[in-house]
């Protein structure tokens, strides 16, 4: 008998219960006809405040976050806590922006951010760039959800890839059938489990370890002994700029990810979105407490599981901590929370990626006269392909590769900000300027990531997103978030490019949206997809 039997049984039962829910979801709030992207891909654009809260919360706060953030706090200390200011700043930042995005999407029937760019700037090419950027940024993110499940399975003593393949096959099947309704329904269970586990953890574990004061003191003592100068329970002079730019840059990037917008566009009116900007920070509180699990692991003397290659997998510290301190049955519940926590975002991300392909590649370049039913069919198939791709990523490549790609993904998705977010406010930019800015930001971002080593694991390139300013010839130990610098490059080039193209009188695209579209609400008239069939 395996020492983890109780944990495994609890985990398996909860996992299966959720899978059944995923299939049943097709009947939940059943539409007359699910064969369109508005139904399959956006749940009928009808979700109220509660469903949206669970869905978007379940989408943004992923399983990978739950294992990686405390792992970062465990390894580096205060810097890992950037996740908290990041998720505080983001909601007031996007409060008005998302309402505009919802309105214009409601009027014009947009499903993806690239749909909006296509109509706003009248440029299929710019839309394609935005769509591909979204796809490239989302794919590794899906693969990372598997890393989250794998961390839990490792802690239960399960190695090998078969369980993950099975879990993803089930996920793929019910996403295919139920579309966005599946993660929306499962999110209720996922979030309830997460809240229960975290409340239990922050009450129970500190009591067992001798109180919060002791936990922070143990962490401070550990960091004082390490040779690394930048770790500790407070920020140092060298990493404060990194902390702030990472929090702010991540906040700017969050709702540029196609899957974040999927949850927003599925809500039924503007007020649902605005109310959620006040309600979603409840998850930030949970995330802050989860981050502190990293310090609890230090105080409890938790050791990450060492893989076959002799490399310690720091992502396993939270599962191992639970195994160490919780009774078996509750550790099982906690593992299920993380495992199910991987399913919700993985489902939404694959739907978002599939919608990008369908709307901005298939419909634009392959079948211009696609019907709603054809769009839904293509999206369903692509959502399967995307999941197979994610599993292959994990099976065939070093998981480190997915982690690197996700790091790059955060930097490159920020490069869509001028077109998508600024585009909601101004039509000043020329489409050519936006493309030039995107290319420059991308090149600058990749170059900076390439120059960044990671001394902790001996990697020379793509070792993290903290770009050392001394690379630019500045005499300082300070680092800054790569994505933030790349975005500045992007904006400067986009402005100069726009001025240049205007001066040369290069033809710009037509704007298919009008001012009032950005303030429309539920019940206001819609345009029936006219703009997407517009001129090239």
């Amino acid at each position: 008998m395996n020492a983890h039997t109780t944990e495994l049984v609890v985990f398996a039962v909860l996992f299966l219960a959720v899978s059944v829910m995923g299939f049943v979801a097709a009947r939940w709030r059943r539409p007359e006809n699910i064969e369109s992207l508005h139904e399959w891909g956006l749940g009928g654009r009808s979700f109220g405040s509660w469903i949206t809260w669970f869905l978007v919360g379940g989408d943004l706060y992923t399983a990978y976050t739950f294992v990686a953030v405390p792992a970062l706090v465990f390894g580096a200390g205060a810097l890992g806590f950037y996740a908290l200011p990041y998720t505080v700043v983001v909601y007031p930042l996007v409060f008005l922006v998302l309402a505009r995005m919802w309105s214009v999407s409601h009027v014009h029937g947009f499903v993806t951010p690239a749909d909006f760019v296509r109509a706003r700037f009248g440029s299929p090419t710019l839309a394609l760039i935005i769509a591909i950027t979204g796809l490239v940024a989302t794919m590794p993110y899906i693969a990372l959800q598997l890393v989250g499940i794998e961390a839990v399975l490792k802690a239960m003593g399960i190695t090998g890839h078969l369980p993950i393949v099975i879990a993803f096959a089930i996920l793929a099947a019910y996403t295919y059938q139920s579309g966005l309704r599946a993660p929306a329904l499962i999110a209720f269970v996922k979030d309830a489990l997460i809240y229960i586990v975290i409340i239990a953890a922050v009450v129970y574990i500190p009591a067992k370890l001798g109180g919060w004061g002791h936990i922070f003191d143990s962490a401070a003592a550990k960091f004082a002994k390490t040779p690394a100068p930048a770790d500790g329970i407070l920020l140092t002079g060298a990493n404060q700029l990194q902390y702030v730019s990472l929090a702010f840059g991540s906040a700017l990037a969050l709702f540029l990810y196609p899957h974040s917008l999927t949850g927003v566009l599925a809500s039924k009116n503007r007020n649902v979105i605005k109310r959620n900007m006040s309600a979603l920070p409840a998850y930030s509180l949970v995330l802050g407490l989860i981050a502190l699990l990293g310090f609890m692991a230090i105080a409890a003397g938790t050791k990450p599981i060492v893989g076959p290659g002799g490399k310690a997998d720091s992502n396993t510290i939270v599962p191992v901590l639970f195994d160490q301190l919780f009774p078996d049955w509750f550790a099982g519940v906690a593992y299920a929370a993380i495992g199910i926590g991987a399913l919700v975002p993985a489902a939404i991300m694959s739907i978002a990626a599939a919608n990008l392909f369908t709307r901005n590649i298939y419909r634009e370049y392959i079948n211009r006269d696609a019907t709603d039913a054809q769009e839904a069919k293509v999206s369903k198939l692509v959502s399967l392909v995307v999941k197979v791709g994610a599993v292959l990523c994990i099976l065939l490549l070093d998981p480190q590769f997915s982690i690197d790609l996700q790091l790059i993904g955060g930097v490159i998705i920020l490069q869509t900000l001028p077109s998508v977010a600024l585009g909601l406010y101004t039509r000043w930019f020329h489409k050519g300027g936006l493309m030039a800015g995107w290319a420059a930001g991308l090149a600058a971002g990749l170059w900076m990531l390439y120059l960044t080593p990671n001394p902790a694991n001996g990697k020379l390139h793509f070792g993290g997103s903290a770009f050392a300013l001394k690379n630019l010839g500045l005499d300082t130990p300070m680092t800054i978030y790569t994505g933030f610098l790349a975005l500045i490059v992007n904006l400067v080039v986009a402005v100069l490019g726009t001025l240049l193209f205007r001066a040369l009188k290069v033809r710009d695209g037509e704007d298919a949206t009008s001012r009032d579209d950005y303030f429309a609400d539920e019940g206001d008239p819609r345009v029936k997809d006219l703009d997407l069939a517009g001129s090239h």
């Binding site: 505080v88 909601y91 007031p92 922070f216 329970i233 404060q240």
Partner: protein, 70 residues
């Protein structure tokens, strides 16, 4: 009727407060004073969540439209 529909309101400027404050590290990058064993760095940043919630709630309530409609 260009201004029939708009998000424009002076109240929106309040949203800058919970964006700016959490990014000012000098406000909270210290160990003391501790609260329930939490160093200032951690408890104050957690408290910023309440600042964010209060601000977005306030701005939502005072700028809500719809009641004007017939």
């Amino acid at each position: 009727m260009p201004d029939d529909k708009s998000d424009r309101s002076p109240w929106n400027w309040l949203l800058l407060v919970p964006i700016a404050i959490p990014l000012m590290t000098f406000l909270y990058n210290a160990d003391e004073p501790r609260l329930f064993g939490f160093p200032l760095f951690y408890w104050l940043q957690i408290a910023f969540i309440a600042l964010g919630v209060a601000t977005t709630t306030l701005v939502y309530r005072v700028t809500r439209r719809g009641r004007r409609r017939p």
